[in-house]
Amino acid sequence: MAATRPPVLPEHLRSEFEELVSHYPERKAALIPALHRCQEELGGWLSPDTLEACADFFGLEPVEVFGVASFYPMFQLRPRGRHMVSVCHNISCALRGAEEVLEKACEVTGSPAGGISEDGRFSVQRVECQGACASAPMFDLDGVYHENLTLDDVERILREVK
């Protein structure tokens, strides 16, 4: 049986991860921070190839890496829109209009909750408590919190996205 070569991580990530690994007594401990960086750098999601390349880098079985990646909701295991809108729907936000914010975000972007807009620009998703309870409702747009949202804010912020 011919062995196929596993996919390889880009050089800049490999050297970054070597430095990360040095923070810990075990190599594997850098896996989660590394997956975050892969998601940022490699198209906004963790493809099977990326997971396999990480497994190879960390000396783990691909299934182990998949097990970790699929456990944490921040990791996207399917392609997503170029911009990610994560609307908190937990209690403090729900009490101040999170469902309306979600509905508005879906309407403005054309993405269903948990899906991708037809033009591929946006994904909107529901998320659990983001620790912005005293400035609810909120969403996270590409890693930046937008808080104390009115429906007008939602419309304006999402229309301004390039």
Binding site: F71, L95, E128, C129, C133, A134
Partner: protein, 431 residues
Amino acid sequence: MKSPELYLLSRTNRPDSHTLDVFRRHEGYQALERVLKGGFSPQEVIGMVKDSGLRGRGGAGFPTGLKWSFMPDPEKDPRPRYLAVNADESEPGTCKDRVLLEKDPHGLIEGILIACYAMQVKTAYVYVRGEYRLPHDRVAKALAEARAAGWVGENILDSDFSCEICGEETGLMESLEGKRGHPRPKPPFPAGFGLWGQPTTVNNVETLHNVPFIILRGAEWYRSMGTEKSPGNILVGISGHVERPGVYEVPLGTSAQKILEDHAGGVWKGRKLKAWIPGGSSTGFLPGSQIGLSMDHDSLKEAGSMLGTAAMIMLDETACVVRAMQVMARFYDHESCGQCSQCREGTEWLSQIFRRIECGDGRVEDIDLLTSLANGMAPGKTICALADAAAIPTHSVVRHFRAELEAHVEQGRCPYLSNDQPSQATVGAHA
């Protein structure tokens, strides 16, 4: 009456409070200097923290000095040892540590260094939840500044004390080791078998922020604030149906009503308070009539609740408690890691039953079924406290708001929806 002294938030409103420069101008690293140059032994530091009566601010309220003293004597147990700093704030309603991480990251670093000195730890990991991008960046930047200025690293202030601190975007011990976030059974306790099987102490961000002030101003000063059994100040996050939601610093033992009215400006829109949660979603609902309770560990325990993370969530008279509970039950279902069957199955059942009652499909026997399920999720039956965190609010709804559950079942719809709203409104599932 003189207004209480603020220390936890004494720096956070200053411009650039996250920088080393501003921190140094406002007592920053003075406590560490006192410890390292004043000849304090590690045992003396632990003694001071014990004497202060500081209790952990992560939710359980365990005495911090006592926890530190559980670390084995390094003479007898020379294994590497760690401090893991929990900056993975995620109990719904809780948003206090984020304020400290973003606006006073050096305060945390100073607290970590003193804790490490006391426990003779040379490596600390701050695990910041991945969603906290800005807090993570602020901590990372502060660490770089502190390292460059010699506050973190080898032979700090020319003493024998060396300490490395890493700030990472992960959560919990298992995550820190690069694994799925499955809680571990205790025993073994982290003090003997924590990170990578080595002695480890886990402390919350706000807990560590208290430490430099205890060193600078003394245990007696600390005990002059708060109550006898819960000394000091605490950060209270107040959210939901109030005029001014926010994170406020108050002495422990302050009445919830005072916080609601004086700090948060009262219930919004001139409405009345129907229900409130004192310490994050897992502490359960109390009726509005109990708003006179004091925010401290013992008073809330006596009332059948908990101080938890002091994250107050307020519901006005128009809110539906069943719907609020259903949002929370959905959360516990989503978060259950699935190791323990009572939790894996129980949280899903609770979520489904609250959902069907809210949607008008509830049955009379569902109410007792909720109680019976929650009884099966009691402490000691599962590895961690998540099942209990779902059971406590469930019991509280049945105890205090049974009539509201019954009204949903009898009317076959949510009585709080206006007539033109469909009964299946909202209540989304995770995609």
